[in-house]
Structure formats: structure tokens, C-alpha cells
Symmetry: C2
Subunit: 459 residues, 2 copies
């Protein structure tokens, strides 16, 4: 089947790219309520495309109030062959600061062999890779695939992820018979180096609200006596870390599993230069515990990061105000074997214990999911490495990711199947940032690589 | 002249209030560029009204690029009598957070004997009191006033104040012959208690910008190694104060002049209850050095307040970002005899010295002006106390203000004249905050009190 699919993928690069551009023009920002209809439009667009491909039982699955839909569809015409669950997400991150984009985030633009648009890398571009890989077989092989597939695409991975979690936790009939899962939502460690992720950090997201007076106050009239929530919030945040960046929450590091000797050896071969890394970031220094390598800190140590602070007047001009409220958005990344609920409680307790007595502080835990690790010896993981060798001509790198994909953990724990976590974005893809981009060569090679992978699984 | 003016003020309360409402409907927010034309409109409105009153040499004085105009006008028909410089400002503060206003900020609304609108208290309502006081004499006394007056109204007191400062510093011919100044921009210590301000804190405004990486980063991918400017900014801010609120800048308190015994005695008579103050603020505690009374902290000690922080994503939803930049707006209030430039440099030095090495920190000083104190024995101050006794029936309170009015210092230092700093707003006027309001009884009494004051000066 591959013999016909490969020339098809090569001949159809232009329409495949144009289709992706149309998909990227839909601003499916899941975290912002005003884009709710656009997320729904993106889901419907995917469902329509699945029908056009010839998949069966295509459905847009609506969730609870405030949730975004799932899109499903399957092809089970290869009895006796494996059934692969294919996962990606069609929602994207917010785009601010908009002024830092060199081209409009929802008008896909090609520059220097890359396609720039919000979602090009994370994750609409990769969802499209999955569909185009299937298309190669379906359109050249009389509507047949080398394996059975069940698709599960979500529209709120960048928001709560609640809908797909509940769907998978509920063990629906739709997922019966799945033999392995493929999560296409990560990237390559370096250009030309195909990469499989063997571990993901878990995540806790939280909102800390500090209240002072019952109204905004004039800082000249009241300053020096009235509590200032911005000052108090800063003092709380400062108390959450040592100057070098070690997290000051009792018990935070006590369940941290050390990476295996094998993993640490493979990381040391990755030609990762810490000074180059710092320079590429344009930073005057790095943070974290200097007893550990930077890769160790990114992949095998937990973190606490302030993702946003708001309070008072910080626009152009000046307003001599003491705001009544200040808010910080804080996320913590977890590694095996940290317990998300335990850590969330320890975080909350620490924030409240360092909160100054003259303010009222509230901690709201928004989400909490554990880290996961993958067994590299599984045949479905080896199959991917073989497919990548055939496509890219080099051995696959096994790395961990600092980010979190909670659903990958659910596939493993609830469905009990091996999970391949992989993807084709590059380190400079600017995921979650302005000028997000997808390398076009990787887009085309990714389609071929996923096709080869499914073909090997079917043999 | 007063015999005719008093019945005029009483008979014309309704048109005087309607005129003020029309004035308040112009959104003259000086700090926000998009309101530039509205500030100009407010200035033109005032100038037109001066012409209607019959003042001479009315002018709208434009400044440098980016500055807002001054409005001037005079009446010098009383040779041998004093010449009083009357100052107020026609610009207002921004209105955010808009959702906390019970009625629209630029649609003046009467509730419970108060007029709610941005600028009703600070300072358009008080500017209008000046004009209506003059109107009472001019419209009933054949176009005559009991004293000579020179009006100086500015449109950027809530922004930079640069234009009026330069104007006064330049000793223009317009200000020749002024014998005293009246700055109508403060309030009453309590309802029914006429108040003269005998000291104002100076102010330094500054912007602190902290830069980490050269772009926004995904906090999962980079968290734990990349510097986070929000974390660093919080650490800087926390290091600027002790937990009790004492400012940690070397030399900050060394030039602080102690208030006189007389002042401290008069403050102790003010029936100020610190617990009531705290409860009225709805705060769980107050800050500051507990060796000093709250009034002492507010009026005679310097402060450092965080007026705004911005960085990352703090809106609805969640964005796992490490922002490249974080900004804080910080103001310091100064008391006699602190030197603004010395303190500004000490502040800058302290911020840079506590800034973590992994970020780049920049401190921009936006403005710096010294504190001032007033001699209560001056006859022009005594005249005000007499006028207030006649209007309100009680003795005047002498207080200091925690806020800053740089131009009052300039009148004193550049023109060398005594300056009466007073006003008729109440402690709950919500100046600079949502639901700003002016007590209507004080509006009408204020007109009469200013009229009586000018009348006494002319005797």
C-alpha cells in the first residue's frame, strides 16, 4: 500500500498545504470565551474532512456547558490488524502580544520554508499530518488503510482538557479494541533528528488572588497605611522560591524519581550546550539548581512558574492607585512520582502561610495531572523508530518533554495501551508564543513518517 | 458685594449644577492618548465659560508635543487690592475598572445627595466651584470682583504636569503681581469640617522593566531553566520593603523632618480612630511602622507603593507562558526635607542591586518633586479660616495630605507667594477610583466659602 501512497503524498504537497492553511485561518482559541464559535467551527471543519476522507461514524461530540466538542471517526476494515487510537487537538493558544507577530496569527504566511500561524505547530499542523497520512492510503488503496484506526481530536487541550478526560475515563464503547495510541503533539529535539518522547511532566494550574482594601485607593492619600495587594503578592511569590530558583514548598522534591542511568546517558549524547541554549534565549543567565544539568532540570525536576500577574494600572501613563485586588496565574510542572493532589495542597498551604496578615489571599486550583514515563521497549515504539529511520535516514532520539499532555497519561492508565508520543515541530517553532511556525519540510516528511508507521504496524 | 452674591448663589444652584454636569460629560483623561481631543475639548469649554463670565485676556495656551493646554484668564479691575492666583485642573484620572462603577463615569448621576462622575471631586467639581464663586460677584456687582484674580487651569495634573511646571518656572509676565495663590484640589478631613492643608508629600514616579528571554516561552518546555521576569520582579519588589512595610532603600529616612509638636497635637485632636479607619477600608490589617500613628505615617513619613504590575497572561483562562518582559509602575511619596533627585537615584540603585543576575532590569524615573509645608500664620491662610467659620460655623482643621500637588510647591518657591491649599471633597469621594463623587451640599457651600474668602481678602 505504501508504494502507491508515497507518490500520492509527493504529488499532493500543494493541496495538502492549502488545506492546512484553510484550517489555520479559523481562530480556535479555546481559553477565550469570545472564540467559542470559532472553536466549534474548527471542530466541524475537521469532521467534514473526515467524512470526505471516507472515515466511518464521524461525530462531533458536545460536552457539558462551557466545554468544547470532541471529534471522532473510525475505520475498522482490517480485521485482525491492530487498532490505533490517533489523538491530536484542533484548538490553539491565545495570540497576545499581537504586536510581536511578524504576520497575522490567523493568516498563514510562508517565510524561509516555514509556515507561520497560530496552531501551525501546536497542534493543528500535526493533526493535519495525521489526516494527510490516512488520505494517502485511502485515496490510492480503494478506501483501505494498513491498520484499523479510531480518531479522537479535542478542542480544549490549551484550556481545561476536561471533556476528553471525562470521555476517556468513562471507557466508552468507541474506544473498545484499541491496541495502541499515538499522540501527535510534541516535537523534534533538533532539525533532522526524529524524536520520541519517553516522559512528560504533569501540571498543576492555579490562580492566587490577594485582596487588600474594599476599593481601589489613591496611593498618596492611603499609601503607608493601607495594605497593597501587589506588594503582598510579590512578597508571596518571592517566598515560593530560593534566589537560585529552587521551589520552597515543604515536601516538593521528596517524591521526585531520579531518571534512570540509561536515560541520563542518552541525554548526555544529545549535543546540548547550555551556553548556546542561554544565548539562543537571549537571557543573561539561567535559573535552577546548578547541581543538575539543564536537561535534567527541564525533564526530570518539578517547577513552579508565574505565568501572569495583573493588578493596578500598568498601561501607558501613570495612575497613583493602590488596587483592591491583585491576581497571579501560577503553574507547577510535576515529574514521576509526585502526587498532583498532594502537591496542590502543599502549594496552597505554602501560599497561605507566607501571605502577609494584612491581606486576604485565596488559592484556586484549576487543574492537576500527574507526570508519565513510557517504556521504550514496546513494539509500537520500536515501529515508530523504524518508520523514522526509513523517512529521515537517522536513528531516533528518545527524550523527555518539560510540558504536559494529560490525555497521554489517561490513554496509558485507563485504556492500558502503549502510547507513542511524538511529533515533527522544531525547537524554534515558537509554540504558545508570537510567530509560531511549522517547518514545511517536516510537514511533508511527517506525513510520510506517520504513513510508514501505520504501514509497519499493519505488517 | 457679598450681600448680593449670596442670594445669587442660592437662587442659581440648579443651573450651577447643570453646568457642572455638562463639564463632567467630557471624558478629559489626560494619561490616555486616545482621549487627547477630549482633554482639549474640556479646556475649550472652560475658556468659553471664562469669556461668558466676563474675564479678560482668556487664552488656551498650547504646550509642547504631547502636552495638554493651559487655560488662563484674568480680572484686574481692583487696583490696590490683592491679586489672587486661582488654580485647579480640568483633566481626570482613567476610569478602569469600569465594571465597578454603579453609573457611567461620564454620565453624572445624583444619588443620596452626591453627584457621581469621574472628575466630580478631583478636580472639575472644584474648578467649577471657583468659577461659580466668581460668577456670583460678576453677575450681581456690575462685572466687578472684590479682588484681582489670575486664573491658571491645567489639563495634565493626572499625567505629567510638565506644561504648567514649565510655565510657572518661566516666570511669565502673566503671573506678575500675584500676591497669593489658591490651589483648590484637596478635601475636608470629615463631613462638616472645613480643612486647610498645611503640607503635601512630594512624589517620584518610576517604571521598572524586567527582561528575561528574548521572546515569550512555553513554561512547560522552558520552565526550570529559563529566567522568569515575573518571578524576578516579585523578588525585586519584595526586597524593597520589610514585612511591616518599612522601605528598604539606604538613606530613605535620613532626611525626614519630624512634624512639629503643634502639628502632632492638632492631629491628636482629630478624633481619628485607627480601627474605624481599617474597618472602613475593609482591610484585615494596616501596614507601616507601628511606632508611628497612622496619621503620622500618612502625612509625615515617606512611602513606596506598587501602582501596577503587568506581564504574562492574567485574563480569563490560562496560558502557560513565561513572558519575556514584566513591568511595574512604582511611586514614592516624599516628606520634608527629602531631596527628590537623591531619593530617585537611591531607589534606582536599590532596584538594580537586588535585581537577580539572570534578568536585565531597567529603572525609568518619570517625575520627581519635593514635599512642601505651609505657614499657618500667614494672613491669607487666616482669611480662609475666617471665611470657613462664616460658611460652615466651625473652626477649620489644619491637616497634611499624603498626596502630592507639585504645582503648589512651584507657586511657593518660584512666585514666592503664600499658597492656600484647600478643597471641599469628603473622605469617601473615591478620588482616582470607581464611583468618584462630590457631596452636593459641599458643592454649594464651597462656592459660598470661596466667595467669602475672596471678599475677606479684598477688605
Amino acid at each position: 500500500m505504501l508504494d502507491k501512497a508515497i507518490p500520492y503524498w509527493q504529488a499532493n504537497r500543494s493541496p495538502h498545504l492549502e488545506g492546512l492553511k484553510t484550517f489555520l485561518r479559523i481562530p480556535s482559541i479555546s481559553a477565550l470565551p469570545q472564540y467559542r464559535n470559532d472553536v466549534a467551527r474548527a471542530g466541524a471543519f475537521v469532521a467534514d474532512h473526515l467524512r470526505w476522507l471516507g472515515l466511518n461514524d464521524v461525530a462531533v461530540v458536545t460536552g457539558n456547558e462551557g466545554e468544547h466538542p470532541l471529534v471522532t471517526g473510525q475505520w475498522l476494515g482490517a480485521p485482525g490488524k491492530p487498532t490505533v487510537l490517533l489523538y491530536a487537538h484542533y484548538d490553539v493558544q491565545p495570540v497576545d502580544p499581537l504586536e510581536k507577530w511578524e504576520s497575522q496569527p490567523f493568516e498563514p504566511t510562508e517565510r524561509n520554508g516555514k509556515l507561520f500561524a497560530r496552531g501551525s505547530a501546536d497542534d493543528k499542523g500535526q493533526l493535519w499530518i495525521l489526516l494527510k497520512a490516512l488520505e494517502g492510503f485511502l485515496k490510492t488503496g480503494e478506501g483501505k488503510l494498513p491498520v484499523n484506526v479510531k480518531l479522537l481530536f479535542e478542542g480544549e487541550e490549551e484550556y481545561t482538557g476536561a471533556h476528553v478526560e471525562r470521555f476517556v475515563d468513562g471507557k466508552p464503547a468507541y474506544l473498545n479494541g484499541v491496541t495502541s495510541a499515538l499522540v501527535l503533539d510534541t516535537g523534534m529535539f533538533a532539525p533532522g533528528l526524529p524524536t520520541i518522547c519517553t516522559g512528560l511532566r504533569g501540571i498543576i494550574t492555579a490562580e492566587v488572588t490577594v485582596r487588600g482594601a474594599n476599593r481601589d485607593l489613591h496611593s498618596g492619600e492611603f499609601g503607608g497605611a493601607a495594605p497593597n495587594p501587589l506588594q503582598a503578592l510579590s512578597e508571596i511569590i518571592a517566598a515560593l522560591k530560593t534566589p537560585s530558583g529552587r521551589v520552597r514548598i515543604p515536601g516538593f522534591y521528596s517524591s521526585v524519581l531520579k531518571p534512570s542511568k540509561l536515560e541520563k546517558e542518552s541525554w548526555s549524547k544529545l549535543f546540548f550546550d547550555e551556553n548556546t541554549y542561554r544565548q539562543e534565549l537571549g537571557a543573561s543567565g539561567l535559573i535552577g539548581d546548578s547541581r543538575y544539568s539543564v536537561l535534567h532540570r527541564l525533564w526530570a525536576l518539578p517547577t513552579l512558574e508565574i505565568n501572569g500577574i495583573a493588578g493596578g494600572f500598568a498601561g501607558e501613563g501613570f495612575k497613583t492607585v493602590i488596587p483592591s485586588t491583585a491576581v497571579a496565574k501560577i503553574s507547577l510542572r510535576l515529574v514521576p512520582d509526585m502526587d498532583p493532589d498532594e502537591i496542590a495542597q502543599a502549594f496552597k498551604k505554602r501560599v497561605l502561610s507566607v501571605s502577609p496578615p494584612h491581606v486576604q489571599t485565596e488559592v484556586k486550583i484549576l487543574a492537576a495531572s500527574p507526570a508519565m514515563v513510557i517504556d521504550t521497549a514496546d513494539p509500537t515504539i520500536k515501529a515508530a523508530a523504524d518508520a523514522y529511520k526509513d523517512t529521515f535516514g537517522v536513528q531516533t532520539a528518545y527524550v523527555r518533554e518539560g510540558g504536559s499532555i494529560p490525555i497521554a497519561g489517561s490513554f496509558k492508565s485507563v485504556q492500558g495501551v502503549p502510547v507513542l508520543i511524538t511529533g515533527f515541530t522544531l525547537p524554534d517553532c515558537n509554540m504558545h508564543a508570537p510567530n509560531e511556525n511549522l517547518d514545511l519540510d517536516n510537514f511533508y516528511k511527517g506525513i510520510e513518517a506517520i504513513g510508514r508507521y501505520l504501514n509497519i504496524l499493519g505488517q
